[in-house]
């Protein structure tokens, strides 16, 4: 919005700036140039290269020699059962990450959105997981899930819910849920902090009035609170979706996509194709699928947001 407003800045001001000998119309480009050059060199050029690679057969062992193969890589991956499983796993992973992180973040935010003694400490401690490095998280999670000595298995056994043999990360059934729990543990601080600040914007007198009128908690939440925080929830969901499509580290460090591909998302598949199978063309095509999915999600969310805005006017 701010972008639009400023493009339509009053003419007089623009004219004055042009007349000023110190702020010529090239000034913004001078400020912009270093960063733009940087982003073009380290993001734009590599992206263009990947797009090109996705239409070629190229080996990691000899990356300067590529053979143009047109859409062959795309035809190959979409005809591949393993890739379809990868897409399904990615879908499950992304949906669970988004629902889990936004849902838990909202619960925690509602919990902390009250005045109580020690609230500052609670807020600080709750956001600690966000600051923990992924590699350290992967290590402690793997150790906690250790079949014999891991605290998680000891606990599950004690309450009678133990997994046979305790092999959680080696089980095609339990590995993905374990990774999801770990990922959501790292994400909920961010979502809860952002939602907590959105909750500050909820008018207190409105919720109080609703409660006075005898409205239930749930009704008050839906009619007042939810309406205020809805845009933030939508934005967070979008951000979490895009980030989850590209998230690599935790899965790679905890399972490398295994066992039997049960935790293999698009980026894991892409990395394995590039560095284990040495097929840079296939890897690039897989990456492009991820990028296109993200683009569709972004475009879709804009449409939904616009629709919601129209509905609000009616």
């Amino acid at each position: 919005m701010t972008v639009l407003e400023q493009t339509r800045a009053p003419r007089s001001e623009a004219a004055r700036r042009r007349r000023s000998p110190l702020g010529s119309r090239w000034t913004p480009y001078v400020f912009l140039a270093p960063a733009a050059a940087f982003i073009i060199l380290f993001q734009g050029v590599p992206l263009a290269q990947e797009i090109y690679l996705s239409f070629t057969r190229t080996s990691l062992l000899n990356p300067t020699r590529s053979t143009w193969v047109g859409l062959e890589n795309y035809a190959h991956i979409f005809g591949d059962d393993d890739f379809r499983r990868t897409l399904r796993t990615t879908l499950v992973y992304v949906v669970a990450c988004v629902a889990g992180s936004v849902g838990s973040g909202l619960l925690v935010a509602l919990l902390l959105n009250r005045n109580f003694r020690g609230r500052g400490i609670a807020r600080a401690l709750v956001t600690v997981p966000w600051a923990a490095p992924g590699i350290a998280v992967a290590l402690i999670a793997t150790w906690m899930l250790n079949p014999q000595y891991g605290i998680v298995n000891r606990f599950l056994n004690a309450i009678g819910l133990g997994v046979p043999g305790g092999t959680i990360l080696d089980s095609p059934t339990y590995a993905l849920p374990a990774i999801l729990v770990t990922t959501i543990w790292q994400l909920f601080p961010l979502t809860s902090v952002v939602l907590l600040s959105a909750l500050q914007a909820v008018p207190k007198d409105l919720t109080e009035a609703a409660t006075m009128d005898g409205a239930g908690r749930w009704w008050t939440f839906r009619a007042v609170t939810w309406q205020v925080i809805k845009p933030t929830v939508g934005l967070l969901a979008l951000l979490m979706t895009i980030w989850s499509i590209r998230r690599f580290e935790l899965i790679w460090l905890m399972t490398k996509g295994g066992p039997v591909g049960s935790t293999e998302t698009l980026v894991i598949d892409l990395y394995a194709q590039a560095f284990d199978s040495k097929q840079l063309g296939t890897a690039a095509a897989i990456g492009m699928v991820g990028v296109v999915i993200s683009l569709i999600v972004i475009a879709g969310s804009r449409l939904v947001a616009r629709g919601a805005a129209k509905e609000g006017l009616r």
């Binding site: 972008v3 913004p28 733009a36 290269q49 600080a124 956001t127 590699i135 290590l139 952002v194 894991i268």
Partner: protein, 276 residues
């Protein structure tokens, strides 16, 4: 009255539970590092640290490896922070204060970089760095990390400059100050908290970064801690206690720094997410 008490109790229990869930894995890292072999592999888990085992931290630090890892991580993180802030301030200023052709495009491109997976960009960056002799170099990692964190930094700073009244600059303009002077003298001091937030986010990003580091670095001398610690995975020679001690020493600065700068980071994250 009674119902109110139950509700309050439930709330306290829930808050404590969430705090426990948030902190427990890090606590457990600490406890595991400070466990004797007997406690670690006993049939009953020992739930508190055994401080007589504190030597594990001293030993880990005495071995040159750990210190070198942490030092390399620090160099990368500080370099990335300086680079992304240095480039992000002018970019944020241009986006906030000027109207020019390509402005909307620039903003959209900055947002779209958020969806590019590191795992995808690692191959072309590898060949680019290979050509410029930047593989196995901390400078290469600083450049790659800065490119990935710069868009977020720039958007946070743009939001901050948006919040500063233009009148302050108008006064400077009358005095004949150049745009760069106005940026440095007027805007930068006023957005210092947001610069701090962006700096912390850039620092974390680089301190924690793994994919680029593991692909671009092979010499032990240039390894940052994320890669060094990852080399413990699947390796059986190093005792669990040592692994956890090193991981904890890698985690602690990040968490401590975060808690110290928390107020700024939260403001920055919130502004970034809400405006992004």
């Amino acid at each position: 009255m009674n119902r109110l008490h139950i509700g309050l109790t439930l709330r306290i229990v829930a808050v404590l539970a969430v705090m426990g869930i948030a902190v427990f894995p890090l606590y457990w890292m600490f406890v595991t590092a400070l466990s004797s072999d007997a406690d670690l592999f006993a049939s009953e888990a020992r739930l508190w640290p055994d401080f007589s085992q504190f030597g594990v931290f001293v030993d880990a630090l005495a071995e040159g490896e750990t210190v070198r890892w942490l030092r390399n991580s620090l160099v990368i993180a500080v370099g990335t922070t300086a680079m992304s802030i240095g480039l992000g301030i002018p970019l944020g200023y241009a986006l906030s204060r000027f109207s020019f052709r390509g402005k909307v495009l620039t903003t959209v491109v900055l947002l779209l970089t958020q969806m590019l997976p590191e795992a995808l960009m690692v191959v072309p960056l590898f060949s680019l760095f290979n050509r410029f002799d930047l593989l196995d170099s901390l400078i290469g990692l600083i450049l790659a990390n800065s490119a990935f964190v710069l868009p977020i930094v720039a958007l946070i700073l743009k939001g901050a400059i948006d919040g500063i009244p233009r009148e302050l600059e108008e006064a400077g303009r009358v005095d004949g100050a150049r745009p760069l002077t106005m940026l440095v003298r007027i805007n930068v001091p006023l957005i210092a908290p947001s610069i701090a937030a962006a700096a912390v986010i850039a620092f974390f990003h680089a301190w924690n970064e793994f994919v680029f580091a593991v692909t671009f670095i092979y010499a032990p001398e240039t390894q940052p801690a994320s890669v060094g610690i990852a080399s413990f995975i699947g390796e059986v020679g190093t005792p669990v206690q040592t692994v956890m001690a090193v991981a904890f020493m890698f985690t602690l600065p990040a968490v401590a720094f975060y808690l110290f700068a928390q107020k700024y980071v939260v403001a920055g994250m919130t502004a970034g997410a809400v405006k992004g």
